[in-house]
């Protein structure tokens, strides 16, 4: 395969289990039915195969990866392969001693999420009393001399507090602050009416982040990920389908993104059944939207088709019912009215949040 399609990053979703219940979780809404997690030897084999294929970055995530008891051998295995390993975690449940063990085995970066800047607000969104513990984990990371990324998912209820979030990240000496607006898939789509902010809120927050980025240049990296629903064009979802990323779900499905297995027309192979390189290069799930051949108009003749690669396939499916449609967030898409309608619906709504639970999927 041409070098245009080379995986640089493996996103290892080790489990869908998590003590938190955030209503914008990116895990599939039927997560509770997907229980058969890969074992340690299989993950270690996957890491070797991924590195051989070109992967240099490893994100250990979930669910909550800390609920697995084999993070230690996985971190050690990744380090032996010279992978840059990032632990993406809520910080629950963790002890300082375990974190020290991660460092000793070669963990490169710790990304801790908080949900807001006060215990009340953060714990309410997480559905779990966790804020103080998260701050403590952040302190441990810095005390142990490890780089700290602080991640906060933004939505209508907390977007106005971006300046306080930046101040908190500075107090915590975070090396990196990721302010990521909710992407409306998975649980966030269930809760879209309650989460979608106004454009004015978004612009104020974006300006605050831009000011801080200039002020903290060289000291703290600040990322501000805008929500899809406010752009003129779609984002370059996953840098294009099957171009740069491999996601492996807890049960071993090899995916181009963390939600691809919610697309019913596609079949994805399991890393238990076939070598990763083969799955990457020719499995139907990966080839379906790779390159440009699948594109409908207006994408097919659009000059941006090699910039955004047609946007997000999961968003196209979940909003229009057709995974091969132009991403509706694009202002050129024939279905863009769906986005305007979503804004209007959210503006008129005072819906309350529905927490991630094992049961909602069955109820829908």
């Amino acid at each position: 395969m041409s070098s245009e399609f080379r995986p640089y990053t493996l996103i290892a979703e080790l489990t869908y289990r998590c003590p938190l219940r955030c209503p914008y979780c990116s895990n599939p809404v039927d997560w509770a039915r997907r229980r058969n997690e890969l074992d340690t030897p299989t993950w270690l084999r996957v890491l070797r195969e991924a590195e051989d294929l070109g992967v240099v970055q490893l994100n250990l995530t979930g669910g909550e990866p800390l609920v697995r008891d084999d993070l230690e051998p996985l971190i050690e295995g990744a380090r032996q392969l010279d992978l840059y390993t990032n632990l993406i975690t809520s910080g629950i449940p963790l002890t300082r001693a375990r974190l020290e063990g991660f460092r000793a085995r070669g963990l490169d970066n710790v990304q801790v999420s908080i949900q807001d800047v006060t215990a009340d607000a953060s714990d309410r969104v997480a559905g779990y009393a966790s804020f103080e513990k998260k701050l403590e984990v952040g302190r441990w990371v810095k005390e142990l001399g490890m780089p700290l990324t602080l991640n906060i998912v933004l939505h209508r209820e907390n977007l106005d507090r971006v300046p306080e979030m930046i101040a908190l990240a500075e107090r915590m000496s975070a090396d990196r602050l990721e302010l990521a607006n909710t992407q409306y898939l998975g649980w966030a789509l269930v809760n879209r009416r309650a989460l979608l902010p106004t454009r004015e809120q978004l612009e104020r927050a974006r300006a605050a982040a831009a000011d801080a980025r200039r002020r903290l240049l060289g000291r703290m990296e600040i990322l501000f990920v805008t929500p899809d629903y406010f752009g003129e064009y779609p984002k370059t979802c996953m840098d294009g389908w099957g171009r740069r990323f491999i996601v492996i779900s807890p049960e071993g499905l090899v995916l181009p993104c963390h939600a691809a297995h919610t697309l019913p027309e596609l079949t994805f192979e399991n890393v238990r059944d076939r070598a990763l390189a083969a799955i990457w290069s020719d499995s139907p799930g990966f080839t379906a939207f790779r390159g440009e051949a699948w594109m409908p108009e207006p994408c097919r003749s659009c000059s941006r088709r090699t910039v955004d690669f047609g946007g997000c396939r999961c968003q196209a499916y979940h909003l229009t019912g057709d995974a091969a449609a132009t991403d509706p967030v694009c202002t050129l898409a024939p279905t863009h009215g769906l986005i305007d309608a979503a804004h209007a619906e959210a503006a008129a709504s005072n819906a309350s949040l529905r927490y991630r639970s094992p049961k909602l999927a069955a109820a829908r």
Binding site: G54, Y84, T149, L217
Partner: protein, 95 residues
Amino acid sequence: MPDAISLESRPRLAAKVRLRYDRKAERYMLLYPEKGLVLNPTAADVAQLCTGEHTVGAIVAQLAAKYGQDVPTVEREVMNFLVALTERGLVQEAP
């Protein structure tokens, strides 16, 4: 703003950064959270010398000798590269 880099600075890679040889592209790359930067051979030489032991002046002298180029040209290139890396938080001055 980060402190200005001078010829007396002793740059080192930030804690979040790892230098790795990429055998696919046959290039060194700097890896940091969720990103990577592919380096050309000269940039890789500079990055390898960012250990906190060498001054910028010493790095420039070493590269000028290695590539047989004049010092002012090399100095300009090394400085530009180090300033860019410092602004991204990838290089810091050793204490």
